[in-house]
Amino acid sequence: MASLEVKDLSHSYIRGKSVLKEINFSLEAGEILSILGPSGCGKTTLLRIIAGLEKETSGSVNIDDHIISDHLHTVLTENRNIGLVVQERALFPHLTIINNVMFGIKETKSKKYEIAMRLLKLFKVDKYAYNFPNEISSGEQQRVAIARAMAPNPGILLMDEPFGTLDQSLTHQLRTETRKILKDNNTTAIIVSHDFDDAISMSDKVIVIDDGQIVQSGSAKDITHISPEKSVKLGSIISNS
């Protein structure tokens, strides 16, 4: 699994205000990071820059100590070895569940099947292997989306609001399961969320972003034991969302 380092990363749109200002953080291989913050704070943009879907204005992104993006280099998304789960899930509607998961695996046919089936079983959606995405529930679609992202064994898994649209009980169950699978596979992962519970229960590290800046960072434990005034600030950020 890969490590990640983000250095002095800033981003602004051509005419607009800056979306991200001087973001710095790093992640060891196998660690899970939560990025927390209200809607529109720039966290999705950060994820897209790491994935290579957008280009930063300044700063750099390193994976395993190799520069994958700075003012001189850009490694294309498809060569970054990254897994991505987007909020909308974006399953390929024309493929069955198993074909969705097999899609990114570059192996022989039987090996592909084996890997995909193992993941579907882990996420308890193997019985829908030959269904189409529109035939299963949103919770199940969410699991398939995560399984699909993990299938090619990416160096880093990026998840944008993975549980955003699900109901409470489902969220809780899926969080626990996902964390277990990530940890069992020793996957480096970043979870973007506006949900405090997501952050605390799933991750090793947490950073909090507001208005494009990191306002707080630390271990999940640190964040739960923070000084009263900071807690108030964090609380207001979260509740504003």
Partner: protein, 537 residues
């Protein structure tokens, strides 16, 4: 950003295809002959006025016909609904000029219909029941009833993909069914409707056959009058350029009007629609609303033409007919295929490389649809002869002028707007996050296109083929001038007879055009039905 295959290929293709249109526009930089003062003083205002009323009337009528029938088909269950669903596009097989001939044959003072009325009611020869059709209102009817399927097709597609929950929310907010229709459903699919309407308007302004037959002076008949009568092709090209500029203005307005409108809701789950079952009078109303457009736009001309053909010219269907029909058919398929591929490549490049340049240029290419076919053919011909003289003059047996290549090129330029609008609409329905995810799954470029986009664009691709095929089968002026020796298509036959108003002679090839046009329509509608997103995902 470095230039990749996905930027260079579409741009190159684009430049080839845009050249003939550019040649037409280039005339604006030339000298302006004194014929302009004549045009300005005596006829231009009349041309503009007639064209304006025509566009206005056709737009309103196709909106009512196209959107109305699409809404009824999408939401209600009534007698013969399954038949109407696809039969409503049948008028696409009937070119406006053929309906115009039918109309005069039926409704002229001593036309079949008026004679019939006189016979039935034993009236004197001075009595004329039906109003005259050789006027602007007549032309509006002719264009509307042959072109409404463009609006019907896009509206139907858009209504199917429309989020049901919003419609249901509208009902709970106290809107009645009619209000839901015009306050919610129609505004929500506005970009699609405007897209279809643009096609109708462009086809209307570029048409020559129908308005010429009705002897209505429009901008386009003015172009040909200037060319044929005053021997002034330069001024004719300049007039055509004005038509082009008008179309470009329309396109810019359309782009602008939907700049912030991201209406796609492709991720909303498909819910099987619950059709309200209609009974009694309402059933009859819905039936009539769908039947009348098909009757006027398809059944009427087919019956009249069959009658003429049977009475006067059955010997047309000989072995020569088979080769002519085959020419027509394979040309149409080839042109439709390449046109659709071009539209996919360009739209893919626009999306994949966020290529705004190309996006702008692509809308520019769609104006080819608004150029009268013969003027466009002149542009194509000048380009081909230029290529022949400059590049391939030393290679024996290779001549672009008068080759099938030139014909296909002209067809593609003429029909690109049809492909572009369907492929563009298809892409609107594919969530862009799907591309992001695919790229993280190491699928980009060609694989992204072939493994993800093409399967999802299947319906749009087939629809695009359908529209281009029926356009090419109907297309005549470009064929006449660009074709190789001894090469006939069905439209050529129809045209040479119809141009001299030898309607009885034209009937058999016209029927053949309609029949050959029906084959792809039926095959493709079947394929589209099977591949429709709603049926599986």
């Amino acid at each position: 950003m470095n230039f990749s295959l996905w930027q260079i290929t579409p741009v190159t293709l684009f430049l080839i295809f845009i050249a003939p249109v550019a040649i037409v526009l280039f005339s604006l930089t030339g000298d302006y002959s004194e014929n302009w003062s004549h045009l300005y003083n005596y006829v231009l205002i009349g041309y503009i006025k007639n064209s304006f009323y025509l566009i206005l009337g056709v737009s309103l009528t196709v909106l009512i016909l196209g959107v109305g029938t699409a809404w009824i088909i999408t939401n209600y269950d009534f007698s013969f609904k399954n038949f109407f669903e696809w039969a409503l596009i049948l008028p696409l097989a009937v070119p406006p000029y053929i309906l115009a001939y039918t109309f005069t044959g039926l409704f002229d003072t001593f036309g079949t219909a008026n004679n019939l009325i006189r016979e039935i009611f034993d009236l004197s020869r001075d009595f004329t029941f039906f109003p005259k059709v050789r006027n602007v209102p007549g032309a509006i009817i002719v264009f509307s009833f042959t072109l409404y399927p463009y609006v019907y097709l896009v509206s139907r597609m858009a209504f199917i993909n429309q989020s049901r929950s919003i419609i249901e929310a509208g009902r709970t907010l106290g809107l009645n069914k009619l209000e839901v229709f015009y306050k919610l459903a129609v505004p929500m699919i506005r970009p699609a409707i405007i897209g279809g309407l643009m096609l109708v308007v462009m086809e209307t302004i570029s048409d020559f056959g129908a308005v010429d037959h009705f002897a209505i002076s429009t901008f386009t008949t003015g172009i040909f009058r200037t060319w044929y009568g005053m021997y002034d092709i330069e001024t004719a090209m300049q007039l055509a350029s004005l038509l082009l500029l008008f179309a470009i203005t329309l396109i810019i307005i359309e782009r602008y009007s939907r700049r912030n409108a991201s209406y796609s809701n492709a991720m909303s789950l498909y819910k099987p629609l619950s059709h309200e079952k209609l009974r009694g009078f309402k059933n009859f109303l819905a039936f009539s609303a769908c039947f009348i457009p098909i009757f006027i736009g398809f059944i009427l001309p087919v019956v009249e033409l069959t009658y003429w053909a049977l009475n006067y010219k059955l010997d047309f269907f000989n072995e020569k007919f088979i080769s002519t029909a085959w020419n027509t058919f394979y040309l149409a398929i080839i042109a439709a295929f390449f046109c659709s591929v071009l539209a996919v490549l360009i739209n893919f490049s626009i999306r994949y490389k966020s290529n705004n340049y190309l996006k702008f240029m692509s809308s520019f290419l769609t104006v080819g649809y608004a150029v009268p076919g013969l003027i466009l053919a002149i542009g194509v011909m000048q380009m081909l002869t230029f290529i022949d003289k400059s590049f391939v003059s030393n290679i024996p047996n290779i001549v672009f002028t008068g080759s099938i290549f030139g014909l296909v090129l002209a067809y593609i330029i003429k029909s690109y707007a049809l492909s572009n609008s369907t492929i563009d609409a298809g892409y609107q329905r594919i969530n862009e996050r799907i591309d992001d995810v695919a790229r993280t799954l190491k699928t980009s470029g060609w694989s992204l296109l072939s493994q993800v986009h093409l399967p999802l664009l299947k319906t749009s691709f087939l629809t695009s083929m359908l529209l281009v095929v029926s356009e090419v089968i109907k297309e005549l002026p470009a064929t006449l001038i660009l074709r190789p020796f001894n090469f006939d298509t069905l439209a050529v036959y129809t045209y040479v007879y119809a141009a001299e108003e030898r309607m009885y002679d034209a009937a058999a090839p016209s029927i053949a055009i309609v029949m050959v046009g029906l084959i792809p329509i039926i095959i493709l509608t079947r394929m589209i039905r099977r591949s429709r997103p709603a049926s599986r995902y």
